[in-house]
């Protein structure tokens, strides 16, 4: 069985769709701003499903009125990390919610090797499974360079 049939990491919103264009991203940001969310940009080179906390690129952006500010930050992040995963996250500060309301990937490395399933045999012939990212075989900064 192929573990990575599409050759793409599928995390967050819209990840089964083709990559969003900048105009589409802008529309999503506008939607979030209308809802009162605070956007932030994050990046990583280790997209393991359990890697919840990616690196923050700058501070979360509060009190924005227009998507241009987020797009400017995103452009800067893409310039700095062209071969990393970059995602936009919208924080909903409403009382009782106070968590991430939207999150989607806006930048991917050119080739995504995906994940392998490793099996460990333990006592009593029990099998433990582990999801392993091929990219993390290389040291940080050299992943996705090929």
């Amino acid at each position: 069985m192929m573990t990575n049939p599409t050759g793409r990491v599928t995390q967050g919103q819209f990840s089964f769709l083709p990559d969003l264009t900048d105009d589409e991203i802008r529309l999503q940001i506008e939607y979030g701003l209308r809802k009162g969310y605070a956007w932030s940009v994050e990046y990583t080179d280790d997209p393991h499903p359990r890697n919840t906390y990616w690196e923050m690129f700058g501070m979360p952006m509060f009190d924005l009125k227009d998507a241009a500010g987020v797009m400017m930050e995103l452009a800067q992040c893409r310039k700095t990390f062209p071969n990393h995963y970059i995602r936009l996250m919208a924080f909903d500060s409403m009382r009782g919610v106070e968590s991430i309301a939207m999150s989607f990937i806006v930048n991917r490395p050119k080739n995504e090797p995906g994940f392998g399933l490793a099996r460990h045999e333990v006592e009593g012939r029990c099998i433990q499974y582990k999801v392993h990212s091929y990219a993390t075989d290389k040291p940080e900064g050299e992943r996705y360079s090929g």
Partner: protein
């Protein structure tokens, strides 16, 4: 990035952003643009609500006219090449305190919003403290945060000359200016920057920052108000607060203005507002002293000459 294979609701206007965002798509006459953008209403309001400032109003009308004509040119496909088609709208307001710079900035934002030159039309008002950090590496994120907040609207920098402090060569203000310049140039269609401050100090500021001066298209000078205009302003303010001048109070206030204008630190409309606030205080104490009197509506809304003549300005004519 790949082109989508599906249609997204809401992309139709976004795809043709330059024309569709403008309210005047397809308009052929000035009147059509004005009717579609309702900018005339804002300009009339400007004329009606703000007293004096004739050169400022004229200049704003000129700018609005240029923008309307630009809209018409754009609808005929006569606009300049793509990226630099947006005219530079950054402005500099110079004038003494209390001459209405902030008020006019709010109106300008409204006009630009109606004409579709800024997308959201809000005004972010900042001073040096909001832009310049306190230690190395603090300034850039701080300035960028403010710029990001102002995008889609107008960034109003009050007393902008404080950004540049020539006496301290390690001052972080220069860093803020550089970021500001970069964004003013590259994100011209995202935000409009308005600098404000005293005339002479802004002139020195521009002299030491020629890059800033050349990126600002409109230098607007706010003249001081005449005493007649200040009196009108005072009456407007009182009206808005449901007060009025009693018998002789109008003349007393005119006298007050004559004297106050000679004194240092006269801040035009702001001084008028402060004077009226103090007169209201005195009127309140005058009514408060008379505990058994039944106060009518007229008593509660009228400023008497005594309330104004009790001012410090009248007590020391010699100094």
């Amino acid at each position: 990035m790949s082109t989508p294979l599906y249609s997204i609701p809401g992309t139709a206007p976004a795809a043709s952003a330059p024309e569709a965002a403008a309210p005047a798509a397809g308009a052929r006459t000035v009147n059509e643009v004005l009717a579609q953008s309702q900018v005339e209403a804002v300009m009339d309001e400007l004329d009606r609500d703000l007293i004096g400032l004739a050169p400022v109003k004229q200049r704003i009308r000129d700018i609005a006219a240029l923008l309307v004509i630009d809209k018409l040119r754009a609808s005929l496909g006569l606009a300049a090449d793509g990226k630099h088609s947006a005219p530079s709208l950054h402005m500099c307001f110079t004038g003494n305190p209390g001459t209405g710079k902030t008020t006019v900035a709010l109106r300008i934002a409204e006009i630009l919003h109606r004409l579709g030159y800024v997308r959201k039309g809000h005004v972010v008002s900042v001073t040096r403290d909001d832009l310049v950090g306190q230690y190395i590496g603090h300034t850039a994120p701080k300035t960028k945060e403010v710029l990001k907040r102002a995008m889609g609207g107008v960034l109003f920098i009050d007393e902008a000359y404080y950004l540049y402090r020539p006496e301290n060569e390690r001052d972080y203000g220069q860093e803020a200016i550089e970021i500001l310049l970069q964004v003013m140039e590259n994100n011209r269609d995202d935000l409009v920057v308005i600098l404000a401050g005293y005339k002479d100090r802004m002139d020195t500021f521009f002299k030491s920052n020629p890059g800033m001066s050349s990126r600002i298209a409109h230098h607007i000078d706010f003249p001081d108000y005449s005493s007649g205009e200040l009196l009108q302003i005072a009456e407007r303010m009182l009206q808005a607060q449901h007060y009025r001048f009693g018998e002789g109070a109008h003349e007393a206030f005119a006298q007050y203005l004559q004297r106050r204008m000679q004194q240092p630190h006269f801040a035009n409309a702001r001084s008028v507002r402060n004077a009226l606030d103090r007169a209201r205080l005195r009127a309140a104490s005058r009514l408060f002293a008379d505990r058994d009197r039944v106060l009518t509506e007229a008593d509660l809304t009228t400023l008497m000459p005594a309330d104004i003549l009790a001012s410090r300005v009248f007590q020391a004519p010699a100094s």
